[in-house]
Amino acid sequence: MAERIDLEVPATLNALSTVRMVLGGIGARLDFSLDDLEDIYLATDELLRTALVADAPDRLSVEVLLEGGLLRFTAGTFKSAKLRADVTMHAEDCLDLCMLLRRTVDDVVLEDDDGAYRIVLVKRRKGGPA
C-alpha cells in the first residue's frame, strides 16, 4: 500500500537538510542501500538548490510517495522556464543538472499543472539486500 508524506518548508538552503532527513528516514524504511540514498540526496539537493535560484519560491512543497521498493519525490509547483530547461535539456558532453539527475535517479518526469509544473524524481531500490 502506498504511503504519502507531504512537506512544506521555507525556500532556504537550511531547509534542505530537513528534506534530506525525511528522505533518509524513508530510504531506511525502504531498505535503500547507502549508495542509493546518497543518489537521492544528491539529486534532490541539486534540484531544489537550482529551483530556489531559478524559481525563487516563498515556500518549497515536497511530496514523497513510497510504494513497494520505489520512492517518488515530487517538488513544485514551479513556473520558471529556465528550471524546466535545466531539468530536461542536456548539453552533450557536459555535466549539467539534467545529466546529474539522470545519473542519480531512475526517472525524471515533469507534470504540467495549469500553466505551472511539478518535477518528479523516481528512485527504485536496487542496491540493497535481495
Binding site: S17, R20, M21, G24, G25, G27, A28, D31, F32, S33, L34, D35, D36, L37, E38, L42, D45, E46, R49, T50, V53, A54, D86, A91, E92, D93, C94, L95, D96, L97, M99, L100, R103, G127, G128, P129
Partner: protein
C-alpha cells in the same frame, strides 16, 4: 620549515616562564635538589637518572607542598617534549604553535594528575596525555560546525563499519544494516551520516578515518597509484571554467561518478578512500563548482573526450 626550537610558544596561559624568571628553589631546596636535568638536559648529555630524580623532586614539591614554581619548572622542562610530539602533527594543516599550545595543556593535565605512589616516570605518563590532547584537537577542529561528541564518534565508527561491510556484503550496506553493526538506531545513523558533511577532510596528510592518529596512514598514502589515471583523464578532458578549481582527485571522482557511472562505493574502492569521504568530496566539489560558475548557469564540467580515462 623551521625547527621546533625556533618556534616561540605564544603563551596566553603563561605556561612557559621566560628563562631566568622562574623562581629558583630556596637554598634549602637546592641542597635536596638533584642537578637540573629533564628531557632537555638529556639531549645535552646529562644523565637520565638525574632527570628522573629532578622530576620526582619537583613533582613532590608540587603535589605535597603546593609549590607552583616546581610545577612551572616541570612545564618548562617538558615543553621540548611537547614540541617534539607536536611536530609529528605539524604537516596536517594546523599551525605548529597551536599544536604546541594544545599539547602543553595535555602536559599540564599530566603534571596535575600525576600520582606519586605509582612509581612511573613523568615522561611515560605525560606522552599519551599530550598526544591525546593533540588528537582531540584535530578531531574537534575537523568539524566545521559544532557536532556533539557522540555523533562524531558514531560517524567515525560508521566510516569503519562501511569499509568492512562493503566487501563482506559485496554491495553498499543499508541504513538498517549499519544501525545493527553500530548498535545504534537508524535515526542515529542517519543523523551521524548527515553530520559527516560538516567534516573538513582537507588535508591529504589527515587520517582517512578522521582521527589523525600518527599510526594511521594519511590519505596521500592511498593515492599514489591513481596519479597516472588522473593525468590521463585530464589530458582527455576539456575543462569548463569551474573545473580548474578542483584538484585532480576531485575531478577524477566526479568523472568516475557521472561519466563512468560508478557508485560511491565503487569509487571508494578504486580510489582507496572511504565511501563517506567520496560522498563529502562529491558534494564539496559540486559546491565549489557552483560557487565558481554561478548557480548552474553553465555546465559544471565538460565531458572527457576519450572513452576510458585509464
Amino acid at each position: 620549515m623551521s625547527g621546533p626550537d625556533e618556534h616561540r610558544v605564544n603563551d596566553p596561559l603563561d605556561l612557559e616562564a621566560p628563562p631566568g624568571q622562574a623562581r629558583a628553589l630556596t637554598a634549602e631546596d637546592e641542597e635536596e635538589a638533584p642537578a637540573h636535568g629533564g628531557p632537555v638536559a638529556d639531549a645535552q648529555g646529562r644523565g637520565r637518572d638525574d632527570s628522573e630524580k629532578l622530576d620526582q623532586y619537583l613533582l613532590r614539591r608540587y603535589h605535597l607542598y603546593g609549590d607552583r614554581t616546581a610545577r612551572e619548572q616541570l612545564i618548562t622542562m617538558y615543553l621540548p617534549l611537547v614540541r617534539s610530539l607536536a611536530r609529528r602533527y605539524a604537516s596536517r594543516g594546523e599551525q605548529f604553535d597551536d599544536l604546541v599550545q594544545v599539547g602543553a595543556i595535555g602536559l599540564i593535565k599530566a603534571i596535575d594528575r600525576f600520582d606519586l605512589s605509582r612509581g612511573v616516570e613523568l615522561t611515560t605518563y605525560a606522552t599519551p596525555n599530550i598526544v591525546g590532547e593533540i588528537k582531540r584537537y584535530f578531531r574537534d577542529k575537523g568539524w566545521s560546525v559544532r557536532v556533539p561528541r557522540g555523533l562524531q564518534e558514531l560517524n567515525i565508527r560508521l566510516n569503519k563499519i562501511i569499509d568492512e561491510l562493503v566487501p563482506k556484503l559485496q554491495r553498499s550496506p543499508t541504513i538498517n544494516e549499519l544501525a545493527e553493526a553500530a548498535s545504534a538506531t537508524p535515526e542515529q545513523v542517519l543523523e551521524a551520516l548527515e553530520t559527516s558533511q560538516a567534516y573538513n577532510s582537507v588535508s591529504l596528510q589527515a587520517s582517512p578515518n578522521g582521527e589523525g592518529g600518527e599510526e594511521d596512514a594519511g590519505l596521500i598514502d592511498y593515492l599514489g597509484g591513481e596519479e597516472e589515471a588522473y593525468d590521463t583523464m585530464e589530458d582527455r578532458t576539456t575543462l569548463a571554467p569551474g573545473f580548474a578549481k578542483l584538484d585532480k582527485r576531485e575531478r577524477y571522482i566526479l568523472h568516475l561518478r557521472f561519466f563512468e557511472g560508478l557508485t560511491q562505493s565503487q569509487i571508494a574502492e578504486r580510489v582507496g578512500i572511504s565511501q563517506m569521504h567520496v560522498s563529502r568530496l562529491i558534494r564539496r566539489s559540486l559546491e565549489r563548482l557552483r560557487e565558481e560558475i554561478g548557480e548552474l548557469d553553465a555546465p559544471l564540467i565538460m565531458r572527457p573526450s576519450g572513452d576510458d580515462p585509464k
